[in-house]
């Protein structure tokens, strides 16, 4: 069952960047790709729970700021050590200048 929740405005995120969003006490990371598409994942690295929104977005990769662990934020796939567990992703839609996440 869908549970679309507003996360942020489309202009809140720079191109090729990420911001942290907290909804009901849970941290999410919301991304804007170089092609101006939006994506959302859990907010913390699966390695040692560091906040991903402080990391670096390059193309479709988010790099954790603590140990440089890398994920494809469009799929959640971990891209090698020290990442041993993929990142949970969430469906996203853009409506009326806002980014919505489906929290399911």
């Amino acid at each position: 069952m869908s549970n679309w929740t507003r996360a942020c405005g489309t202009d809140d995120i720079d191109n090729e960047d990420v911001i942290p969003v907290a909804i009901d006490g849970h941290d999410y990371a919301v991304y804007r790709s170089p092609d101006d598409d939006y994506f959302a994942t859990d907010g913390h690295c699966t390695h040692e729970a560091f906040l991903l929104a402080e990391g670096l977005v390059m193309d479709n990769i988010i790099e954790c700021p603590k140990h440089n662990g890398r994920f494809d934020y469009t799929t959640g796939e971990g891209k090698g050590a020290p990442i041993c567990e993929d990142l949970r992703t969430y469906p996203v839609k853009v409506e009326g200048g806002s980014v919505y996440i489906d929290l399911g």
Binding site: D17, L56, E63, K66, N68, P82
Partner: protein, 346 residues
Amino acid sequence: MATRQRRDYGLLGEDGRSAVEAGLANADWYRVPVERKRLKELMRRHDTTAIIHTVIWLGLIAGLGTLTVVTWLSWWTLLIAVPYGMLWALGGDSRCHEAGHGTAFRTRWMNDVVFQIGCFMTLREPLVRRWDHTRHHTDTIIVGRDREIIEERPPRVVHFVLLWTGLPMVVPQVWGMLRHSVGHIAEDEKQLIPESEWPKMLRQARIILAVHAGTIAVAIALGTILPLMLTSFATLYGAWAIFWVGLTQHVGLAEDVTDFRLNSRTVHMNPWLRFCYWNMHYHLEHHMYPMVPFHALKELHEEVRDQCPPTYRSTFQVYRAEIIPALRRQLKDPEYYIHRPLPDAA
């Protein structure tokens, strides 16, 4: 004289358990705030600088290696061995470090290739190195959690003297490779490295040993140690340079704190050392923001310096003013360490 018992610096000891109970494992560390927009500029990756550095670095190794062959067994060989050893051992160590973080190049495979080259030059297993260094960044100088603590308190005199030969670094590494090649994984490695990585680790050890065995076979076939002098022996005779700069990073400073300004140093160095060391003399800044590539660390230093302790003028200053006096004092008083002054506003 203090009567503190020697602490257990191993990963399986009581101090490691105490660190976890005290909340020092995977703790929240203080970092001097840097505005997100500025930090993004500093973190920005590109390939050009690292490619230029790498070409010069490998070119110098090739050139000095050729000179070594040409002047072999003359006094010139000894003279050439100094810069060659520095480029091989310290250059390999720092390239392995920076490329291991994945920040030197924007292109991932370039980081991976240089990381593997650096590990080979320093006789390291890439996977072990990666997990050891990951822990070093999580729990920097936390006793019982960080295997990269070079010197303990009180200092081990024989170990400290031998450091300059490279043996305390190389012998355990080679022993580790041998163990892994026959499928043996130590208990502390099982704690450090996820089980899913073990098969890869064992495979890597066998490949690296085969390469080194090949070098030895070439030396035997040619009837000369020259191939070893240009490769694995260079790790040993260049190791002094790794430790000359490496000891300045943390030795003598506080243990078990969660503020890099208290346990890490930034030391100005001459251009040659900076080149060999790939700017890791900005070590405090590197620990605060490991995403910032080596070529942007000077700018990061300018951003945070007013919130950090004073920077040291040179490696000689650090040894003369702090490391040697601190180690001597710690022989008698293991509780002693250097308190770094923090700015009032910090």
